[in-house]
């Protein structure tokens, strides 16, 4: 999922320049770290197509991520999205129109205070349910599109501007419990827009069963205060290559869920064989409006959608993503065909010290 980005304007460029300057300063300071703590540049670069109702749109995209440790306890990290979007001209006009976008997805500083507590400050992805902060990078998602309820939380931008406490509350061999609590201030800044709100998530993980269950809650604290609830269940049975992920979200005006499964066979030579690299993926989802107030990112009418995909995991961190989706809605049924290729990169920001 892409966070709402903006068109390149002089003011936006000035903001981007300041952020770049900040990042370079962080990199310069981080240069004095240990031999294994060289700042890294990671992320994904991809090319996607989407065909809906006979018209095909194209967009090349790059999502770079910077992570720079400062000393023994601090990490500065940021992700951005830069894309060019080509779509057919409407009506009877031939040819394509295009627009370009650039946006900071998040920019945060993390202070590892103890084994159980990390303090986060800055512009952060809201950890409501799982998609927004865990599955949204283009090199992670099984589908090109995020789920319908991906934006169902107190901030439509998907990010908060403020602080967060997070960490591992309990770690046992049979189970572990993670938590986070966050507060966001209201911001109308172009790059760091956010709503005032707060919330948290608690996750229980059972390592033997490879089962994860989590609950999310947040509350909008501006205008008409609204509550949002979420729950998720992930199950990834050991040594099978099968993953089942599901999520439910409910807001003041809408609710929905998605269930996604993917599988990479361990037979026929293992997951890195020619056949093992094939990854069938499936997702079913429904979104329901509870009233006519469409203040969230969900569709204006009740919607059901099923996605069927085949991904192929090529060597060298490259992945082909293809899918067909059938969407049913009172506003019209649609067939959506999507293809794309993503390359994941990961390298040091510069040549590190010798160990």
């Amino acid at each position: 999922m892409l966070r709402p980005a903006l068109e390149l304007k002089p003011r936006a460029l000035a903001h981007a320049s300041r952020i770049l300057l900040f990042a370079l300063t962080a990199l310069a300071i981080a240069h004095h770290g240990s031999a294994q703590d060289t700042p890294l540049i990671s992320g994904g670069v991809g090319f996607f197509t989407s065909t809906n109702g006979g018209s095909t749109s194209y967009y090349p995209i790059i999502e770079p991520l910077l992570a720079a440790p400062l000393g023994q306890h601090v990490l500065v990290e940021s992700r951005a999205a830069l894309l060019e979007f080509y779509s057919p001209n409407g009506g009877d006009q031939p040819g394509y129109d295009h627009s370009h976008f650039i946006g900071i997805t998040y920019l945060q500083g993390d202070y590892v205070a103890s084994s159980h507590l990390t303090v986060v400050a800055g512009d952060f992805l809201i950890p409501f349910n799982t998609y927004n902060d865990r599955l949204s990078p283009i090199w992670i998602g099984n589908f090109q599109d995020g789920p319908l309820i991906a934006n169902l939380n107190f901030s439509s931008s998907g990010s908060g501007l403020g602080g967060m406490l997070r960490g591992n509350a309990i770690q046992r061999s049979k189970y572990s419990i993670d938590y986070n609590y966050y507060y966001s201030a209201r911001s109308a800044n172009e790059q760091f827009s956010a709503s005032r709100g707060s919330g948290g998530r608690a996750v229980v993980y059972l390592p033997e069963q490879r089962l994860e269950v989590g609950f999310s809650y947040d509350r909008l604290l501006q205008g008409t205060h609204e509550n949002f609830y979420g729950a998720h269940v992930w199950w990834e049975p050991k040594d099978t290559g099968f993953r089942l992920r599901s999520e439910f979200g409910r807001g003041q005006h809408a609710q929905g869920y998605w269930v996604e499964a993917d599988y990479r066979t361990h037979a026929f030579g293992g997951p890195d064989s020619a056949i093992g690299r094939i990854e069938p993926v499936f997702r079913i989802q429904q979104a329901f409006r509870l009233d006519t107030v469409a203040s969230d990112g969900l569709p204006a009418a009740n919607t059901q959608r099923a996605d069927f995909g085949i991904d192929y995991n090529l060597p060298h961190n490259t992945r082909i993503i293809t899918s067909y989706a059938r969407q049913f809605s009172a506003t019209g049924n649609q067939n959506i065909w999507e293809t794309g290729i993503v390359y994941r990169f990961l390298f040091p920001a510069w040549k590190g010290k010798q160990q």
């Binding site: 599988y263 994941r344 390298f347």
Partner: protein
């Protein structure tokens, strides 16, 4: 109409689950027959611990990258500590896994 689609979706999910279990059952005898000496197990323990941490935490969201420079292993581990809520013990095990 939507109920039919929902039922179809659940059936497909059940089929995929059955396939996954079949694969798991097939792989078990191979695991059972793989015997290591006590010395080998002792030597492999820290590495296994780090691999376990990787599979139980990092792999929940994403697959492993196909190699990276050792000079960024500490940065990756710290990033994962924040993102995945790793304990200090798991952080050290993961770092050892990346730099055996």
């Amino acid at each position: 109409m939507s109920t039919k689609h929902f039922v179809s979706g659940v059936l497909i999910l059940a089929s995929v689950s059955a396939l996954a279990f079949a694969a798991q059952q097939n792989s078990r005898p191979e695991i059972a027959t793989t015997k290591k000496s006590a010395a080998q197990k002792q030597a492999a323990r820290p590495q296994d611990d780090g691999e376990r941490v990787f599979k139980q935490n990092c792999s929940r969201c994403h697959t492993a990258p196909e190699g990276f420079s050792p000079s960024i292993s500490g940065t990756i581990v710290r990033h994962m500590r924040v993102r995945a809520g790793l304990s200090q013990h798991n952080e050290e095990a993961l770092l050892h896994f990346f730099n055996p």
